[in-house]
Subunit: 653 residues, 2 copies
């Protein structure tokens, strides 16, 4: 019997042609990588990955990440063949509106998809996060012993985020990580030699990884043996698989033309001939279906065996129900004292850690500044995964990607701290958290020019507003001690969304506030600062966020003495406010009051939404300056005097 | 004579204590790194760096980048001592408002500062760009033979951007690059072992670098010899310098407490004692001043020698004066044909390349898709720096940082292409280009959900608006062939700003437009689509950008048939429009016309500025979907029908 006639070859070609057919039918997509990777995929699922398509949430399933998300047709084919809820009809709707088989894999949409991938490097970092999560869980539940597999491409390994994550994985010696590098020597612009001549294997050895070089992508035995070796090794493993992009296509294999477009009807036919494949498009030979059923049956047996032995009930509640109200009371508040909101955030985090086995996180080498260190816990290291504190190093982007992976893995609530300015470094990961509906927390301190002497290189101007633009991301900018606590409480309830806390470096007074429940609505009238005024009598509304709310309150005091009726509105979270009823919104910002001033130490673009045509926005549309924080703020117009003068001008106009 | 009494030791301690004194006086800053690096800085400037403080623009000066920008006190001290326009008074104003010695080095502000650094990893990438620029220049002007030096820190090397740039530097074998890695084993959170156990030397060897390990940071001879070796090596070099952070401080040296705050008066005194330094703060011993004068004299001699031999006049004009008008006529336009704006951009770039020896750039492995390849030129490689085309690989962030370096080096106009969604990956570099006032071009294609099947992972929603928030960045979103050309013309004139072009994947019709000069004003009335209507008669203004302008034009046609008087405004560049006179702005968007609808396939936040309280914004505040572009656009409300229905609703209200 020739190899072609073996069931293995048939399975591999089925994977190959399902992928080809999907792309061809959609007339859009990436056939090349699936064609080259089909043998690896088959071997990986047959011999190694433990899964149960009927219990996709099984805590000890092996995780598989297609970091090279453009090869999605491969993943969907595998999910179909191994019994997941992905039908041939779904495959035929590849890349069509409303289908569960979109252009790139989306977590939450398709059964069996473990991570949203496509933007390169992200999946690589996600896997590192999953590996950390798994090891942490295994401290308490030693039966957790699954692996994290990923297919990573040249592009994944060129991206900086993967370099960062690889260094962390090496430092933590994540031996549960097995990455297969699809080394096909082809990138979109041509040979990888154009831009990628480095010795990848040597680089990963330098990170502390176990590397297996030069595995022939068509050699099933070698592939399987390499994976077995990797499973037994006590380091993270990188398997360098030499594949041919577009394998089987007479005119396109080994070329960049196989990468990002359908092969074309003619070339598909030629490929069928070349691989001696006589089946109609989307046809899965009966014996192939049977064989995959057998494979899946074996997997389910393993699953049953594991679950019957391991009755561990893993709690899924992240928090006691009454944590929020308890905490506010329990925190050691001195109302006479000024706190920076970053300090309060640190107190809340530490309190949260007391009651929560799911909290995990850290900062990009700024724990002291971002107040993200949990004092009653230890640091995660290669020989201790029991702690809460992760040291990400100066690696914001992978911090974001790793935290997404931690959240994807199970029930963890990961947090990440850095300066607000460096949110830019991790923006692609923040966006993917929002798209994937992951609850992760971002703790962004040093939130304005108020940070002072570090100067414009470190002073955020556009970052706050820019975060507000990301769909499904809640951005909180609390003004004081109480607001910070309530913002955390609100964010804890948003289990389908990431939340960003934007916090001061400098201290701010504590407002003795009678209307704290308003914080949860995103914006509210600061009692007793103006709620007592009848709507018809209001001369002016001052809207402030964060540290600038205090300027509004001071300005209000002075304006009130002149007989003006001024309302102060605090707006810690735009998105929550936007979600309120029209009635509530109009109560806080009555349409008839057109004299409105917003005060926020960031870009003014966007504030027109709340201040209206007649309003004025005190903000900053230029870069900051290096000087003590108070001086920079004053020079840039964030002073009571400036608000007073603008108020007068506005009231005159 | 003990070492302490040598002039070398005195110079080194002068550098050390100037830095200590600056930080102490400001009571803010980073003393630790300068204290550890003082010997290296002295040796580097004395024996190696060629410079002339009186001709800071000298084309063949060695470039020095302090990628670890927080060590700015070190750089300012060196600039003072070597005769740059940085006085002791300037040093005393370290980190104060309006000084030329801000917290982190800022290009353009301080004589001798070659790059704005602080956000880690950026300087590393800048140097790679400078090295490319220098080598390209040397093809035409072989006398150009200077080096690029940088000090990089642990943090720099943890950041992904530096990993990306290092791989490119290795591939291109940039032998003019000499980086000194300040390996002090300390990061802010503690020992680097917490998070950075990799073998850095081995990693850089894997990239193709020449690595010199374990150089004692106090051993002047070894340091100088290593730099000499690096200069002679035909690879980029990394010198791993073992230093002690806070060297000399009895209680803080070798500890993270030496990193980010003033030592404190007492510790400064103890350090003075420990290093036997009896000079007052900011006092530079006479013999030290003399010695530095001698050093500088030698440098100026070298300068004179070089300049007298090399009479090469390097053109500084980037373009012929009449390039712009010429180009528009010269481009091979078929008005009957539809073009995508990315296609037009490609035509413009190729035309630009014909007349311009300063153009250089490429894409992050998307040349074919972003239309950024210059056909009549070659690819830059380790043995060819004559070409225009750089292959950055899938490395958006370093592409941004490298292009900043190219622009910093001399007169080059670098461009960078990728999908708009991946602008997020390079955002920190874009921001630094804006802060540093560098003219660089970003070519962001696939600019909306209109890109289609690749789905929400690749569809930008917030990116366009988010770019508009960055101060000093001009964002252009042209609607057709003509607008694209004029946007390029406008951007070419903005020599102190970066410009981003936001371009369609899909084709759009060519508008036979009578008012093209309006494009340069950022927004204009599309003739003859409504300019003929008297202001008082306008029922409705439709404002569109990019591909959505065409929906506005179609809607206007239909609405006009019902007797409504509709003006269509095209708004390719917000910032340019904002810079126009109030008169012009009011002419385009008359205050009295309150019925306004904006149509743009991106977030609506921000549009309130132009549509006003009564207006409506057709936009997208959620993620996209995977399907053919037209279908996604329609499903998300970007159809003539939807604009018509909203228009009717608005006119009724």
């Amino acid at each position: 019997m020739s190899f072609e006639e073996t069931i293995e070859a048939k399975c591999i070609n089925t994977i190959r042609f399902l992928s080809i057919d999907m792309v061809q039918k959609a007339n859009s997509g990436h056939p090349g990588a699936p064609m080259g990777l089909a043998p690896l995929a088959f071997i990986l699922w047959r011999d190694h990955i433990n899964f149960n398509p009927k219990d996709t949430e099984w805590i000890n399933r092996d995780r598989f990440i297609l970091s090279a998300g453009h090869a999605s047709a491969l993943l969907y084919s595998m999910l179909h063949l191994t019994g997941y809820d992905v039908s041939i009809e779904d495959l035929k709707k590849f890349r069509q509106y409303g289908s569960i088989t979109p252009g790139h894999p989306e977590f939450g949409l398709t059964s069996g998809v473990e991570a949203t991938t496509g933007p390169l490097g992200q999946g690589f970092a996600n896997g590192v996060g999953m590996a950390i999560a798994s090891k942490k869980l295994a401290v308490k539940y030693p039966d957790i012993n699954h692996k994290i597999y990923a297919i990573v491409s040249d592009g994944d390994l060129m991206e900086g985020i993967s370099a960062e994550a690889a260094s962390i994985a090496g430092t933590l010696q994540l031996d549960n990580l097995i990455y297969i590098y699809d080394s096909n020597k082809i990138s979109i612009e041509g040979s990888t030699d154009l831009t990628f001549q480095e010795n990848v294997g040597k680089r990963f050895e330098a990170y502390g990884w176990h590397v297996i070089n030069e595995i022939n992508g068509e050699d099933s035995e070698k592939i399987s043996q390499a994976i077995t070796d990797a499973k037994e090794n006590d380091k993270p493993s990188l398997l360098i698989l030499k594949t041919k992009i577009g394998f089987g296509s007479p005119n396109k294999s080994g070329k960049e033309t196989a990468h990002g477009e359908a092969l074309g009807e003619d070339e598909v036919e030629l490929t069928r001939k070349a691989l001696n494949w006589h089946h109609e498009p989307f046809n899965v030979p009966k014996e192939v279906n049977e064989h995959f059923k057998e494979i899946t049956k074996g997997k389910i047996n393993y699953y049953k065996n594991w679950t019957s032995k391991n009755l561990t009930k893993i709690t899924t509640d992240k928090l006691e129900q009454d944590w929020a109200s308890k905490t506010l009371k329990a925190l050691d508040l001195n109302e006479e004292k000024d706190y920076s909101t970053r300090d309060v955030s640190g107190m809340v985090l530490n309190k949260l850690a007391e009651n929560n086995e799911w909290l995990i996180g850290g900062s990009a080498d700024l724990a002291g500044s971002t107040k993200t260190y949990i004092n009653n816990s230890s640091s995660i290291s290669s020989n201790n995964f029991d702690g809460i504190n992760i040291h990400y190093g100066v690696r914001e982007h992978s911090m974001g990607g790793i935290n997404n992976g931690i959240a994807l893995h199970s029930n963890f609530l990961p947090y990440a701290g850095t300066f607000l300015i460096f949110s830019d470094y991790m923006r692609p990961s923040i966006r993917l958290a929002a798209l994937s509906r992951l609850q992760v927390f971002y703790i962004f301190t040093h939130d304005s020019i108020g940070l002072g002497e570090d100067g414009p290189t470190h002073q955020p101007v556009s970052q706050l507003m820019s975060l507000r633009l990301i769909p499904n991301l809640y951005v909180f900018r609390p003004a004081d001690y109480y607001e910070t606590v309530v913002c955390y409480q609100s964010a804890l309830k948003l289990t389908q969304s990431p939340s960003a806390f934007v916090l001061t470096r400098q201290t701010v007074p504590t407002i003795i506030n009678e209307t704290l429940q308003g914080v949860e609505k995103g914006a509210y009238i600061v009692h007793p600062y103006g709620a007592d005024i009848e709507e018809d009598d209001i001369d002016l509304i001052l809207i402030g966020t964060g540290s600038e709310l205090h300027l509004c309150l001071q300005a209000k005091e002075i304006l009130s003495r002149t007989g003006l009726k001024v309302r102060v509105v605090s707006m810690p979270c735009w998105k929550l406010f936007d979600e309120q009823t029209e009635e509530y919104k109009n109560k806080v910002l009555p349409q008839k009051v057109q004299n409105r001033i917003s005060v926020e130490a960031g870009t003014t673009v966007g504030w027109q939404k709340y201040i209206g045509d007649h309003g004025f926005s005190v903000g900053l549309d230029e870069f900051g300056a290096s000087a003590p924080g108070k001086i920079v703020l004053e020079k840039k117009g964030f002073s009571v005097e400036n608000i007073l003068s603008i108020s007068k001008r506005l009231l005159r106009s």
